[in-house]
């Protein structure tokens, strides 16, 4: 696989094509990044509206029928938060032409369909989104947002982030608020569609055996007709915590969830040090980490306890599912392990294990290039997994302790379980 090139086809619109014939599929993913502000809910519902139908295949059934005809091509819409950017996207995956039973080209039809979804929505006679469709998608978005809270681990992590970053844009839900979604109108979604096409930073990543020109031409023809005034998303970084915030909530659950939120000393997205990733990994990454080997294995306090570093915001979160009564014990155990990191109480073996694991993760990213390159939408240049790897190879053992010392505890969130004791049945 050669190094893919980033080709600009319009102002802040670029195509990254990975040419390879080792997959059975042809994938195209279009990601669109905007600052996490304005009418967040209207922008959030947009990809789902575009995923329903298009002018050529109006109605949800016809659109899905078309996907089935294309050998079960999968179209997905997504909304994610990356730092303080709202990233919207559409992905189409189809089988590669070599496997079609009737010998027809599936991949160019699939690419065409993705273009139609984005540029030729299924508008009503007033030239805007259909009100009925929007009502359905509003309900689906609301239910999606609400049911995310039913996953108690995800809910606890989200709450910790909200409390920790309450005065930062980062605390906003990527879907907006319930009332913002409820009040959505076709006109607001139409305005969001125009805003996204005109001002989002856009990256199209395709992975197929086809040529780069095919994809670039298809999309550049469509973008020619659009006036572009791109807006970059920037993220606010708070390098260290002032005082520790503590919030406890109760639910009738059998297990409690403890989440600790930390600041990592970063002041800008470009000053990220790969040594910080290694530190977080030794602390709470793999099975060799402090949290797994001590808090879970030695102390038997929990089934899961791990740390996740969010480099796009400069924060780290530790989550653990525990017996509610063990809150203090678990919190102290986690903080003790962090102190060990700060004091340099870890071995060269731990360090080597972590570097190997990071390397492993990077190399396996080569087997799903569309994810790897789409995630780099906020960077002007792309890096291959090998290039990222060489940055990690220059991390030194001595750097780790220094990284750990930058970590400060900002927020403790406890979701306490008040469900009655189970008798085992």
């Amino acid at each position: 696989m050669n190094r893919p090139e980033l080709k600009s086809i319009a102002d802040s619109v670029s195509v990254c094509h990975v040419k390879t014939d080792r997959f059975k599929t042809c994938k195209i993913c279009i990601s669109m990044a905007l600052p996490l502000d304005g009418d967040i809910a209207a922008k959030a519902v947009l990809p789902y509206m575009l995923r329903r139908s298009c002018k050529k295949y109006p109605s949800f059934s016809e659109f899905n029928g078309r996907l089935d005809e294309l050998y079960g091509a999968a179209a997905t819409a997504f909304v994610r938060k990356q730092g303080e950017a709202q990233v919207l996207g559409l992905t189409v995956t189809s089988i590669d032409d070599r496997f079609a039973l009737d010998g027809k080209s599936v991949s160019s039809d699939a690419a065409e369909l993705l273009c139609d979804m984005l540029f030729d929505p299924d508008f009503d006679e007033n030239g805007t989104f259909k009100a009925d469709d929007l009502e359905t998608e509003k309900r689906l978005l609301l239910e999606r947002m609400i049911s995310e809270d039913d996953d108690k681990r995800a809910y606890s992590v989200k709450r910790c982030q909200e409390i920790m970053c309450e005065n930062e844009a980062f605390s906003r839900n990527r879907f907006g608020t319930e009332s913002e979604i409820q009040s959505l109108t076709p006109d607001r979604v139409f305005a969001a569609w125009q805003e996204v096409l005109g001002s989002a930073v856009i990256r199209i990543v395709s992975v197929s055996s086809g040529s780069a020109d095919e994809i670039s031409n298809l999309f550049s023809q469509r973008f020619e007709k659009i006036d572009r005034a791109p807006r970059d998303a920037t993220t606010q970084f708070i390098p260290d915590a002032k005082e520790v915030k503590y919030i406890k909530e109760e639910q009738k659950l059998k297990q409690g969830t403890l989440v600790l939120g930390f600041r990592c000393g970063m002041t800008h997205k470009d000053e990220f040090d790969p040594a910080m990733s290694v530190m977080a990994d030794i602390f709470g990454g793999g099975t060799y980490s402090k949290l797994f080997s001590v808090v879970r294995e030695k102390m038997s306090l929990c089934y899961f306890c791990s740390a996740r570093l969010d480099r796009s915001k400069g924060i780290m979160l530790v989550a653990s599912g525990i017996e509610t009564a063990n809150e203090e014990k678990a919190k102290n155990a986690i903080l003790d392990q962090l102190d060990e990191m700060k004091n340099g109480s870890f071995t060269k073996d731990d360090f080597d294990a972590s570097i190997r694991s990071v390397k492993e993760g990077l190399l396996s990213a080569l087997d799903s290039p569309e994810v790897w390159y789409s995630n780099q939408i906020l960077n002007k240049e792309i890096k291959t997994p090998q290039e990222r790897l060489s940055e990690f190879e220059s991390v030194k053992f001595e750097d780790i302790r220094e990284m750990a010392q930058k970590i400060t505890l900002d927020t403790v969130f406890m979701l306490a379980g008040t469900g009655e004791e189970d008798d085992g049945e």
Partner: protein, 425 residues
Amino acid sequence: MTVNKIITDTALGESYRVIKHKSGLTIMVLTKQGYESTHAIFATKYGSIDTSILRENGGFETIPEGTAHFLEHKLFESEDLDAFERFAKTGAYANAFTSFDMTGYLFSCSDNFKENLEILLDFVQSPYFTEETVQKEQGIIGQEIRMYKDSADWEAMFNMLRTMYEKHPVRIDIAGTEKSISCITAEMLYDCYKNFYDLSNMVLAVAGKATVEEVLEVADRMLKNSGGKRAVREFKKESPKPVCDYVEESLPIKVPIFVLGFKEDFENPERTLKQVVSTEIIHEIIAGRSSPLYNRLLEESLVNNSFSNEYFYGFGYACSMFSGESTDPEKASAEIRKEILSRKLNGVSEKDFERARRKLYGRMVMGFNDIESIAHDMVKSDFDGYGIFDASEICRTLTLDDINERLGEILCDDYTVLSVVKPLE
């Protein structure tokens, strides 16, 4: 004698090797050109449904619920370095899983494949259990069990299974209960190990960059000889009627969840692959994304995108499941049942059949991108007595008559269970 055969699917452009190793183990290797990593699974046909051991006197003796899963956790340990510590030295990602009908130990890596395979084959063949380590694990697994008890999806499914099956052990939780695992002893684990971890009862599946030669070089060196003993499963036919047709529970969630199950009646404990593929096509026609049913349920606000279906089957159990979030589970369930009755009355049309067949075929082709899913398929297909290309071949050759005949056998409206998890009052 080592028997060796190559199985090829020219349409898919893939082939793999099946080796009956002299040790008694079945080894399967699918080498993928151009892939960076390799995924290996060493699995035994021993899962949560195996709650009894066939003794020499011909009788079955019961073992505690959750023993297979408990053994999986404990096998990672040894007298000196545990398996996780050994994998940390190579950088591989290692894990294990227990399902209803198998236990698997796996790693994925891009480097040091032979060394990793050596560790995998070694630790799975070297049980080391003591009363002390068994006791320590009860705390960790206790938290794992509680985590699932708080998960509404999990509860909805197991409540359905408990209500559908009166005796079959598919009704019990994979990890057992806090009570049942408290009876587990080191001696018991050795006994189960001896019965279920005979190499004749196991499979090694490898997919990705590694070659057959690399696999065999390590296997020849590391595999011990087996006693040639395949574990026997007990089949007690039970009534086609579920215990009851409705079950509900309340949990602290916001959106209700339902699972509607249709119990299948049969004489033979195992399903043929043709029955499986036909059933999946029927599910797709009835409840797939382009089906009138799904669209109607969406329009009437009875389901959201979480609506899904599954053909759930294994030794001695088989049922069709339709599940999702719904603000009115009883009404959604009634609509699904009504649709199925009408489909059974009118039969499936050629057009619907073609569309669903194409989609399923395309999804099968896409599955061959993913080395992890290929390795899983190899294990499962060997345990079930098929090859991994057989399903796509059946999908290509099925006829409409096959589908309509199968439709007559399944989805009986007299054998349904509706399981609902509601928000707390």
